[in-house]
Amino acid sequence: MFNINSDSINTLFQKVRKLLFSNLFNTVLSLVILLIISLVFFNIYKWFSLNSSWEVVTTNLPLYAFGSFPTDQQWRPATWMICLLFISLLTLFGPKWKWLRKNLLLAWIITIPLGLYLLYGGFGLSPIMSRQWGGLTLTLLLTIFSALLSLPLGIILALCRQSSLPLIQKSSSIYIDVMRAIPLISVLFFGQLLIPLFLPVGIEIDRVWRAIFAFTLFLSAYIAEDLRGGLQSIPNTQIESANSLGLNQVQIIRFILVPQALRIALPSLTNQAIGLFQNTSLMAILGLVELLGVGRSILANPEFIGQYIEVYVWLASVYWMVCTIMAVLARHLEQRMTINKTNFQKL
């Protein structure tokens, strides 16, 4: 046993030597880089163990999660988030039973009305207005609803851009080009500051929905462009054969164009979704108390003044965690959706 051990150590040693210390220049370079890395780690460790005080995070955990949602009702957003997490895990590891796998999509769709019901209340739950939403709940809500609304809008825009009717084609390309030429922050300012001025007195759209509206307007242009790439990569012969089979326009779009375009565009759509999740933090400077906004409000509490680093490190790790979950889910979806050999054999 000892022998095997020393052998493996030996090979490891040789590998390291070959990789890092093969000649003088390499050796010097490796040593310098190792020194820098260890210094960085040492300093981070020193700060973590000596200078940081995590009370600002631990005492405010409910605030980060739910904002100023009434304390006795906080189980509602908590239930929603646990549902989302549970279904994510189920999607990744679970589906051994077929019925479960078939119903997963349905479960994902149900989380949306469920989330709205739990947050807004009514029908037996005490109603809570959207202005009391905050923290991670609000961030997730902004992301999910903006993504959900901008996907169909993006599909429609992409199809319109391919349309043979000049008016529709032109107007959708102008919309896409204009939206892509405006920075997101100005679209958000438009949503928060100008829309209420344009609306007549008495009609008031909620700030949360105004933000979702602005995100949707912006994101759908990008999604449309991603999908256009997918649409263009579908050979024309497929449309011709569909025509000769007697499918009408709507059927061609529904069964041939959109599914393939979505599959091809999936990696870039994932990118958009992750970008969207991080961009929701822009709402902090527009007065919504989402995750970053809550962090900034907590920093104004005299008890926690000056603990910027702890709060921002904590927020960064939360953002990182959610983004990682999203990325892993998307990769899983990609793998499920690729046309592999078994699929061809079935054909």
């Binding site: 349309s163 209420p196 009609i203 008031e204 900034r296 005299p302």
Partner: protein
């Protein structure tokens, strides 16, 4: 594409429907009636200013601006808890009033002519609740006590701000020489001051106090009594709504007047008894709403003062709670004292 045509006509139809709804206009009532009917006050705050409005760990808002909101809610509705706080950024705050998203603003807003005028932001300001102004902070051990002591010393200041201009004006008018050390923003100014690059730093006094409470040894630093500029911070509402403006004005005056008369949260009911039993205490009876019916003249209940003081205390109590000596952001009262004690807070008579 038939589906597209259907979609477009659907959109057109929806737009027409929405504009149709839009013509139903709201009745031209005062906002005050709306607040009472809604049984809730919507108050715009900042949510990010230490001592004025910030989020507590339990999710509630606290601070001087927040307490002023509570006083309004107590006066208008009779319950200081029936209140909704809407955190607003500096850019949004005036739009939020104009569009009716909030009832009133209690958000560190400086009272200026252009904000008050109908040509400008068209607001109506209640009396000033906090007289801020540019101040100077020095280290205790330096032994510097006033502006004259700072002659020939260096001062850390944010560049390109009115702050920079004000400190320059102050030293020029006193014909004293000094060396400004300029930084991009407040955090850098603080860092420069702590590193000892300058003998003093300058900013708004409330900001100095907030910065100081984040220092390791806050007591080693003092804010000088010299005030270099005027930043009167006041609650505001829509300028077209005189009824709401009047009500707000007199709630603030009630807070100040109560402090002047020594009426506090703890003795308010004793004072009410006293006034009831002694018909000769006419000013007190009018103030507490036993005689005169003053409250009804501004659209409130006659005993609105009792409701306000019993829920938030008088102005001095509010100040002590949020910015006083024992609070976490101590700011000396200075100009914010009553006129009888060397400050400038004064209330017109309740007649």
């Amino acid at each position: 594409m038939k589906i597209m045509r259907r979609f477009v006509s659907g959109i057109v139809g929806l737009t027409m429907l929405l504009t149709g709804c839009a013509t139903t206009n709201q009745a031209n009532n005062s906002r005050l009636d709306l607040i009472k009917k809604r049984n809730e006050l919507i108050c715009g705050v900042s949510g990010k200013i230490p001592g004025f409005s910030f989020l507590e760990s339990d999710g509630s808002y606290k601070g001087l601006d927040v307490d002023i909101c509570k006083a309004f809610a107590a006066a208008f509705i009779g319950d200081a808890k029936k209140i909704q706080f809407r955190p607003l950024t500096a850019a949004e705050r005036f739009t939020a009033i104009k569009t009716g998203e909030i009832d009133l603003l209690s958000r560190n807003t400086t009272f200026t002519l252009s904000r008050d005028s109908s040509e400008g932001n068209g607001l109506s300001f209640a009396p000033v609740v906090f007289h801020d102004g540019q101040g100077l902070m020095v280290k205790q051990e330096s032994g510097l006590n006033n502006l004259e002591d700072l002659a020939n010393k260096s001062i850390c200041v944010g560049s390109g701000t009115t702050t920079e201009q004000n400190i320059n004006d102050a030293f020029e008018s006193a014909s004293l020489p000094y060396t400004p050390i300029k930084y991009q923003d407040l955090n850098q100014v603080v860092a420069g001051y702590l590193q000892g690059r300058c003998s003093a730093m300058t900013s708004d006094r409330s900001q100095l106090a907030a910065a100081r409470s984040g220092f390791k040894d806050p007591l080693d630093h003092i804010i000088l009594d010299d005030v270099l500029s005027k930043e009167p911070l006041a609650p505001a509402s829509d300028g077209q709504d005189q009824k709401l403006g009047d009500a707000m004005r007199w709630v603030i005056f009630a807070l100040i007047s109560a402090e002047e008369q020594g009426i506090t949260k703890s003795n308010i009911y004793e004072k009410v008894q006293l006034a009831k039993n002694n018909p000769e205490l006419k000013p007190l009876r009018r103030f507490l709403g036993i005689d005169g019916g003053l409250g009804e003249k501004i659209g409130l209940s006659n005993d609105f003062v009792v409701k306000v003081i019993s829920s938030t205390g008088n102005y001095g109590e509010i100040y002590e709670r949020n910015l006083g000596k024992n609070s976490e952001v101590p700011i000396p009262r200075g100009l914010n004292e009553l006129y009888t004690k060397g400050g400038i807070h004064i209330s017109p008579p309740f007649n």
